[in-house]
Symmetry: C2
Subunit: 468 residues, 2 copies
Amino acid sequence: MNENSPKNLNVINVGLSSFADTINGAGGKAINVEWRPPAGGDVAAATALAGLVNNSVIENANRTAFEKYLNAQPVLEGIGRAGDVIPNMGERTILYSGPPIDWQNVCGPVHGAVIGAVIYEGWAKDQTSAEDLLRSGEVTIDPCHHHSAVGPMAGIVSPSMPVWMVASKADGNKAFTTLNEGLGKVLRFGANSPEVIERLKWMQKTLSGVLSAALSASDGIDIKTIMAQALYMGDEVHNRNAAATGLLLKQLAPRAVRSNLPADDIAQAIEFIAGNDHFFLNISMAACKVMLDAAHGVPNSSMVTAMARNGVEFGIRVSGCGDQWFTTPAPVVEGLYFPSYSIADAAPDLGDSSITETAGLGGFAMAASPAIVQFVGGTPADSIVRSREMEPITIGRNDALTIPALDFRGTAAGIDIRKVVDTGILPIINTGIAHKEAGVGQIGAGITRAPMACFAKAILSLSESRIE
Amino acid sequence: MNENSPKNLNVINVGLSSFADTINGAGGKAINVEWRPPAGGDVAAATALAGLVNNSVIENANRTAFEKYLNAQPVLEGIGRAGDVIPNMGERTILYSGPPIDWQNVCGPVHGAVIGAVIYEGWAKDQTSAEDLLRSGEVTIDPCHHHSAVGPMAGIVSPSMPVWMVASKADGNKAFTTLNEGLGKVLRFGANSPEVIERLKWMQKTLSGVLSAALSASDGIDIKTIMAQALYMGDEVHNRNAAATGLLLKQLAPRAVRSNLPADDIAQAIEFIAGNDHFFLNISMAACKVMLDAAHGVPNSSMVTAMARNGVEFGIRVSGCGDQWFTTPAPVVEGLYFPSYSIADAAPDLGDSSITETAGLGGFAMAASPAIVQFVGGTPADSIVRSREMEPITIGRNDALTIPALDFRGTAAGIDIRKVVDTGILPIINTGIAHKEAGVGQIGAGITRAPMACFAKAILSLSESRIE
C-alpha cells in the first residue's frame, strides 16, 4: 500500500470541517481546527483590523465609552406628545425604525404602518390619498434614531402619538418611544385596519392620560432596577417582558388610583397593561438607547452604539464613527412561525428593538430567560450557550444587570466591532417576525444574527478616521 | 512482602466511604459503592418496607391518589372571617402550624404569636393576662391542618382574622389561610409588638375589604395557572413569590379599582401587595393543601399528603394512614442568617409552608428559581441538582407545573414514603428561620430536609393497617 493512500494521510485541517470530513470518510485521519478568516475573508477589512488591534488609543476610548454606558441611569420621567417633545420632529414627519431608507423602497410592514399613521393623524381618509401625500413629499419619513427615538418592528411614531420620555440621570440625555400596542394586528407589525387605528386613539386619549397622571405623582421610575429584577424573573427584556411589565405596573397602579381620573379609565389602563406582557418592551428599548447614546461619540471607540433594521437593510452605528450607518441587506429570520405561515411569508429583519442586544440584553441575556425558547426556538441549554458565546465579542460585563443561571455574572455588553470581525462571532438577536406584506401583522418570532458586512464596513471607516 | 499487606488489598466497600478512604490512604485499592441501608438502619421499618414494595395494591392506591392530586383545580374564591368560615374553629380557638402540641410545650415564636393573637382579638390587654387565659384553657389552640387550614411559620389564625378561601373545582374541597403580613417584625415569626397588631387590624379592616370586593367581581382566580406562570418567572412559590404576587395583582387591581371603595383604600391595598413579594405565599400554600387533601384518604396509598412543623416536632401525614401524624423532633436549619444572628439563635424548623414541597413545589421546584439561592444558600447549579434529586422519591411528574431549566419537564411530585425509606433521599424544604425566642421575628432562611424517622414510622403504620 502506497504511503500516500488515504489510509495513511494525517492531516490538520484549518477552517471548513467539510475538508476534514472528506478525508476521514475516505479512511484518512484529519483533525479539524476551528478557524474562520477575519472579516469573513474580506481582505481590506482584515488588513484594516490588523492596525486596530492591541491599540491603546482604541482600548482607552472603549474604556471611556463603556463606562459611560455603565454609568447611565435611565429613568422613566413621563409621557409627552411626540410632535411636542421629540427633537426636530415637526408636525408632518413620521418616524420609522432602522437605518435611513427612501419612502419608495420601504418594506411591506413599514409601508402599511406609515399609511396607518397618516390615517390615524387624520391627514388622509384612505390608503390611496395617504399614498398621494407620501409621494408628494407633503408628509415625510425619517429614522427614529435620528430623533433620539426607538420603535419596535416598523417603529412608527407620528406627531399625535403619546411617547414615553426616558432620561439618564448621569448625562441628562433623553430617549423617546411609543406605548406598546400588544400583539396580533398592530401598527408596528404593519397592520392598519380600523381596529388598529381605534386602539391607537384609545391609547392617545385614555391610556396616556392615566399613565401621565401616575408618572407625574412620582419622581420618575428607575428602569435599570426593573430590568435587573426582571432578569431574575425569566425576562431578557426584548422578546420576554412579562415580569418587567408586572414590576412597572406595581409602581404605576397605586399612583394611577390616587389620581382624580375616572375609575373606569384607570381600570381600563391597568387591564390593558396587565393583558400585554410586551408592554415594557418599548421602555426597555428607550432605556437601552439612553445607555448607548451616553457611550456614543467617543473618538476612536470601536463600541457599537446601535443595531437597527428597516426590513430592507440592517445597520449599525459605532461610538467613534459619528452619525454614519454601516448597512447591508437585512437577513430573513429562521424562527418559529405561527400556523399557516413560513419563512417565505416573512419580511427581512425589522425594528429598532435590537438596541436591547446592543446594550447586552435580549439575545445577549437569553440565559436569564429559559422559557423564551418556546417563543424563539431552541432549548433552555442553548439559551445559556448563546449568552456565553457573546462574551468574546464584548468589551465587558454589566454588573448592574446580572444573570442567575450564569452564577450571577453581569451580562456581556459593549459589542466591539474589532472582536466581531476578528472572531467571526456575530451578535445574536431575538426578534419578532412581520409578514412581508402590509396589513397582515406578526407571523412568528426567532433568533437571528447581525450580518458581518456591517462590522467589516465599520472597521474600514474607523481605520480611516482614526485620530492618534 | 506479604500478600495481605495493605498494598495488595483489593476491596469493594459498600456504604460509608471513610472505610475505603482508610484503605486507600494506607496504599490499598478500594472501590466505594454508594449505598445506605433502608430506613437509615431501622430494622423494623426496613422489614415492613420489604412487604410494601412491588405491591400492586399500593401501586394502584398511589395511582388513584396521585391522579386526584393532579386533577385538583385550586381556585381563589374569596375572603372570609376565620371564625365564620373555617370548619369547627369557633370563637375561642387559635390555630397554629404543624402537628399537634400542648400549649405549655410550644416553641418561642408560636408562643409569642399566640399571645399576639389574643391581644389582637382584644381577649387580653397584655402578655400576662393573655398567658392566664391560655393556661386556664379559656382560650385553646389547635393545629391549622385539623381545620382545613395552613399557615406559614407560626401559622397563627384567630377568629377575627380575614382568611383566603381556596376551593378545588374538581372535588369541591376547600382550604383556608391568612393574608401574608410581609417580612420583618410580623406575627408569623413570633413578633407581637403594637406595630404588628396595628398592621393586622389594618389588614382586617382595609385590605380584606378591598380584596373581597375585587374577588366578588370575579368568578374566582385560577391559582394553578398563576403557579405555572410563576415557575417560568423565577419563583418556586414557597420562598420566592415575587412573580406570582405580581400575577395575582394584575388580576385583582383592575377589579378593585372598579369597586366603589375609597380610592385611598384601594391604593393602600395595591401598595401593600406591590411592596410584599411574599404576598402570594399563603395562597400558594392553600392551593397545595387543596391539591393534597384531594389525594388524602385513599386506603393503602403511601403518598405523603402533608409535611408540617410546629418548631418542636416535624410531622407528616400519609394518604392511606388517615388522620395520624408521624412525628420526630424538628431539625434546626443550616441556612443564611441575617447579620448578628446564627444557628444558635434559631428555633427548630417551623411552619405549614412545607405543604408546597409536599405538592412538588418549593425546594422540589428550585430548578425554576436560580435566584433563590441568594436567599436560602447554594448555587444556581445546586438548585437544578436538588430538583432532580427529588425524582427517585416521588410518584410522578406534574405536567401542569413545568420547569424551563429541566427542559420543561413537570415538577417531581407525590412523595412516596416507601421510596424515601428505601433510598434514604430526604425531601428537601426551602424555609424561613424564626428566632427561638418570642417577639424577635425572622433571622434567616435556608434549606433543610424532612427527617427519616417520620417516614420510617409511617412505613410501620401503613404495613400494619394494610387492607388487601
